[in-house]
């Protein structure tokens, strides 16, 4: 999956990056990224995974910071790396503790040992291990880096933030799910559902095409995490694969649009593009339908499986996820209506034209996958064993038929309602957001992404920075100035004092001699 997607993305990049001065650096970064990513996938023990894990972080740092002249890219790349480091901090400790607990970090051995001695498994280590996942897959509360990371070139966003890097977190969980306790899994399920909803809301308030997709990625990752937390890692993997294809497709489509509109990213400055770039538009719409889970597209099969499993497991989460699906359709519909229909809203959009074949061919290939990958569900032998067993499990539920009916109805309702509502609001194409005008406060709130960024920032500015400054001051003044220098000063003062005694006058020496004698005498008669 990773290699197919990457091939398409790299081909696309040839077109996208053609007029960039630093092509060499870009492709080197991508190649390095691929190296690390395949490293994660092929690694058979946690230490190797961690190694490549960090390298993936590093190469994404390089790629996000590609336009290094821009301040935005600078802060975004730093943020991505540091936030990931925070996650890795827990992950690293988790790995080390796992090693001392089980005596190995080899995944195969680990699963055998965990099976034999379940008492060795601890929630504490589990929580530490999933820190890595939270950082890399941009789950709450470490999700802040992903939307900012859109400062990188679009193919990078497709590669890193849709198809592969963020998926690495889910992949990790799938590999280690046997050492996660129920508490950890439940936590993952709830936090995943929360992210799925939260990111869906945020996506509504964005007007940058890439950010909308970024939030949509977040929300889909939430889905995967939720289902994984319910114990169906196979289905999470299934959704991971289908999602990678259609989300890469969407990002590349967005890239094509941005390229055609001369690097304009605001959706309200586009419009009417379906006539000017039909291939891109059609493939993009295919991706959208797949994402919404419309019947027949790949997203349908995986989302369907997720909803059935959730229904079986936890009804609250099930309704939340259905509502999430509704929102997905809503914001994606908003995006499609505004960008591709209506009339052009800016110079750039009206002069846009279809991109070169080197960019459209990958789009077409990916849309093929976006449609057909899901069909694997019918002859599941092409998929991994875990997917098959999870799907089997679902098919053999006692009330499978009934649940399936419900899920089909609700799932379809979700996308039908979502798409039509968005058609209602945005169908005519527009240069500004009607909804935003109606509910400015709600939008400001969502755009502020719950102010998580602000909380972190104020922590850095009001607590950490002054504290660091204070320590620096203390180090400089108290430690170096008073204690170290003070020692030297004391010696100096003593020196001055003693020099005063040695004035070279005989009567002076006599005086001190008698003072000394007096002291001895006083001491002698026990006066002290």
């Amino acid at each position: 999956m990773v290699s197919i997607v990457a091939l398409c993305i790299v081909t696309f990049s040839i077109g996208y990056m053609e007029d960039d001065a630093a092509k060499g650096r870009f492709f080197a970064g991508v190649a390095f990224f691929m190296f690390s990513m395949t490293g994660i996938i092929l690694a058979d023990n946690l230490i190797m995974i961690f190694l490549f894990w960090e390298l993936v972080g590093f190469s994404s740092y390089l790629l996000i910071g590609h336009y290094f002249q821009k301040d935005e890219a600078k802060s975004a790349s730093q943020k991505a790396f540091i936030v990931n480091r925070v996650g890795d901090f827990g992950f690293l400790i988790g790995i080390i503790l796992t090693y001392w607990q089980f005596g190995t970090t080899d995944l195969a051995l680990l699963s055998v040992k965990a099976g034999l001695e379940p008492t060795l498994i601890s929630s504490f280590v589990g929580f530490l291990l999933i820190c890595g996942f939270i950082g890399k897959s941009a789950q709450f509360p470490l999700h802040v880096w992903l939307p900012d990371a859109m400062a990188g070139p679009t193919p990078v966003s497709a590669l890193i933030h849709a198809a592969t890097m963020v998926a690495a977190g889910i992949y990790l969980l799938i590999r280690i799910d046997f050492i996660l306790t129920t508490e950890v899994l439940t936590f993952i399920a709830y936090s995943g559902t929360f992210v799925a909803l939260f990111a869906g809301f945020c996506a509504f308030a964005q007007d940058d095409i890439k950010r909308i997709l970024a939030y949509s990625t977040l929300s889909q990752l939430g889905y995967m995490a939720a289902i994984l937390g319910m114990g169906f890692s196979g289905i999470a993997l299934f959704h991971l694969i289908t999602h990678a294809f259609f989300k890469a497709l969407l990002f590349l489509g967005a890239g094509a649009v941005i390229h055609a509109c001369h690097h304009e990213q605001s959706i309200f400055k586009m419009g009417g593009l379906i006539k000017k770039m039909p291939i891109t538009a059609i493939t993009f719409i295919i991706g959208t339908l797949a994402l919404c889970g419309v019947y027949g597209f790949s997203g349908f099969y995986s989302k369907d499986a997720i909803l059935i499993a959730a229904n079986d497991h936890n009804m609250t989460l099930f309704y939340c996820l259905v509502f999430g699906a509704l929102m997905t359709a809503g914001y994606m519909g908003r995006l499609v209506w505004i960008v591709f229909f209506g009339k052009a809203n800016s110079e750039a959009a009206s002069s846009a034209h279809e991109v070169k074949p080197v960019m459209t061919v990958p789009l077409i290939i990916l849309s093929g996958f976006a449609v057909f990958v899901g069909l694997n569900a019918y002859w599941p032998f092409g998929l991994g064993a875990s997917i098959v067993s999870d799907l089997d499990h679902l098919h053999h539920l006692s009330n499978y038929k009934e649940i399936h009916k419900w899920v089909l109805i609700l799932g379809s309702l979700a996308w039908v309602i979502g798409l039509s509502l968005s058609l209602l609001f945005y169908g005519r194409g527009s240069s500004d957001d009607h909804l935003q005008l109606k509910f400015p406060k709600v939008f400001a709130f969502l755009k502020g992404r719950l102010w998580i960024d602000e909380i972190y920032e104020s922590y850095v500015n009001t607590i950490q920075k002054p504290f660091a400054e204070f320590l620096s001051f203390a180090d400089e003044v108290i430690l170096r100035g008073i204690i170290v220098r003070g020692g030297a000063g004391l010696v100096g003062i003593l020196g001055i004092g003693f020099r005063l005694l040695q004035v070279g006058k005989l009567n002076n020496y006599f005086l001190w001699f008698f003072v000394g004698l007096l002291l001895f005498w006083l001491y002698g008669i026990d006066l002290f």
Partner: protein, 523 residues
């Protein structure tokens, strides 16, 4: 025998070169002088690697390439006794590498009275090689001082702002540290009743009759604080950032990169194996003060605006990992600390080298006034970014393995696990200040100063010699990072011999733990 003379020659070649430069060479810019300088710097490097490839991992009394020369002080048990074991070998190669890089860079620099500068640098170089090649404790100390004194002189003459006060402060502080450790060494020698003033004799004597616990505690305290001052153990670190800030490039590279490691090397090679009960008493202090290095100084580093000061503080911070690695008293922890010493030596020397290159382009060390280096000097930017990433422990560079093994050692026993949770915070702190530095310097729009420098004096990207010096260091970092076995096998063997002969308790986990690194080789 031939190899032991090769070992000896790594000490006297730089020394002779130093004398020649001090006395005979008038103009360093002539071809002859440069050739002499380059060969004087590269021969020790080549010899060091020849010795490496002929190193026997199971020598009779723990040391390879032994050479014993009379000195006239035989009655005191002092011989010029050279040799290498698994602990000194990596540091020996480290000093040859950093020495080559620093001297090569200095030869083509524009310092005033360049012949003196290069000459002193060579003397320092020779002292460094001697320190790590000495088995004899007198010469171990002697060579250290031999390298230390040129450092002071160089700061006095070629230093930056406030160089006199800083050099004086550094001199007094470091001499105090050296004095304390010398007292420790002499006390140890006296009490052990060893026949000669060297590590082998000490070990034999102490195995036969260990000294009393009280004495051990007292001597270890001397070592801890004496060596601690030399390695900038918190809170005795204040000389370091200022000193490095003022020191000229070559001196800063050699001192921060290699000479500073003397203290930890002493703890690793002498204090801990020879004074097991003393180390147990003081172990908690190693951990606590090491944490002080990591957390307190880490945060102080965050507040730095001056590039060179930041590097100086970060180097103080990373020494904390080495201290807590030692504080675990396990082979794993000691091995990790040793690996980190080498890695840190290479990376901090590289950072000082590059900071000078950056200074040349911006004419300032203030990071807030920098920016846009990436547009003017892409190669320099890449080197700098990689050097920073290496120092914050990115996998693929040597530093990662050092930190990782130390963390693993901390988790090994329940009693030190709490340290791990705190110490690992350091990886976040260092990522923050490291990336901030890269962000401020490399990213952003090009500042006027750097554009002007290019326009007026033609200083754009790195020149050949800058590239050469940086590549030597970065290449070694990568080599160890990708293949840590280069040194770890030899050092494990020595550490096992040294630590298991003495009464330090070992659990079985250790041997498994060493496989951590081997697992990497599978890929």
């Amino acid at each position: 025998m031939m190899y032991s003379h090769l070992l000896f020659s790594t000490i006297w070649i730089p020394f002779i070169c130093g004398l020649v430069f001090l006395v005979l060479v008038k103009d360093v810019k002539t071809l002859g002088a440069r050739l002499l300088g380059l060969s004087g710097a590269s021969l020790p490097f080549i010899f060091a690697w020849i010795l490496y490839f002929n190193y026997d991992s199971n020598p009779a009394n723990g040391y390879n390439f032994e050479l014993i020369l009379p000195t006239g002080l035989e009655s005191l048990g002092v011989y010029l006794h050279l040799g290498l074991n698994g602990i000194s070998l990596p540091l020996f190669i480290l000093s040859a590498t950093v020495g080559l890089s620093a001297v090569a860079y200095a030869l083509f620099s524009n310092a005033e009275r360049l012949n003196l500068y290069v000459g002193l640098l060579f003397i320092m170089f020779s002292g460094l090689m001697g320190t790590f090649a000495s088995v004899d404790l007198f010469f171990f100390y002697f060579f250290h001082e031999f390298a230390l004194i040129p450092t002071f002189i160089m700061i006095m003459i070629w230093g930056g702002v406030a160089r006199h006060a800083i050099a004086l402060e550094m001199t007094i502080y470091l001499t105090l540290g050296a004095l304390l450790s010398l007292m420790g060494l002499i006390a140890l020698y006296q009490q052990s009743g060893a026949e000669a003033f060297n590590m082998i004799a000490l070990k034999t004597a102490l195995l036969e009759q260990p000294i009393s616990d009280v004495l051990q505690d007292n001597i270890f305290a001397l070592f801890l604080f004496g060596f601690g001052i030399l390695v900038s153990l918190f809170p005795f670190h204040t000389w370091a950032p200022k000193g490095y800030g003022a020191a000229p490039t070559g001196a800063a590279m050699l001192h921060a990169g290699v000479l500073k490691k003397f203290g930890l090397y002493g703890l690793l090679q002498i204090a801990i194996p020879f004074l097991p009960s003393g180390s147990e008493t003081w172990g908690i202090w190693l951990l606590l003060l090491g944490l002080g290095n990591i957390l307190v100084i880490g945060l102080v580093t965050l507040a730095q605006k001056d590039l060179k000061q930041m590097i100086g503080y970060s180097s103080v911070m990373h020494m904390g990992y080495a201290f807590i690695g030692l504080g675990t008293f396990s082979i794993l922890g000691a091995g990790g600390a040793l690996l980190l010493l080498v890695a840190h030596g290479l990376s901090v020397a590289l950072l000082f080298l590059l900071s000078t290159c950056i200074y040349k382009r911006f004419s300032t060390f203030n990071m807030n006034e920098m920016g846009g280096l990436g547009q003017i000097a892409p190669n320099l930017s890449v080197f700098f970014a990689l050097a920073i990433l290496a120092s914050i422990g990115l996998p693929g560079f040597a530093n990662f393995w050092g930190e990782f093994v130390i963390f693993a050692a901390l988790a090994e026993s329940e009693s030190t696990r709490w340290v791990l949770y705190l110490a690992a915070l350091g990886i976040i702190i260092s990522a923050v200040y490291g990336l901030r530095a890269v962000g401020n310097i490399v990213f952003g729009a090009a500042k006027e100063s750097v554009v002007n420098a290019k326009a007026s004096s033609g200083i754009g990207d790195m020149n050949q010699i800058e590239k050469f010096s940086a590549t030597v260091l970065l290449g070694s970092l990568l080599l160890i990072g990708v293949y840590p076995k280069v040194f770890s096998d030899y050092s494990n063997k020595t550490l096992q011999n040294l630590y298991s002969d003495t009464s330090i308790s070992l659990n079985d986990g250790n041997v498994d733990g060493l496989n951590l690194e081997e697992q990497k080789e599978h890929e």
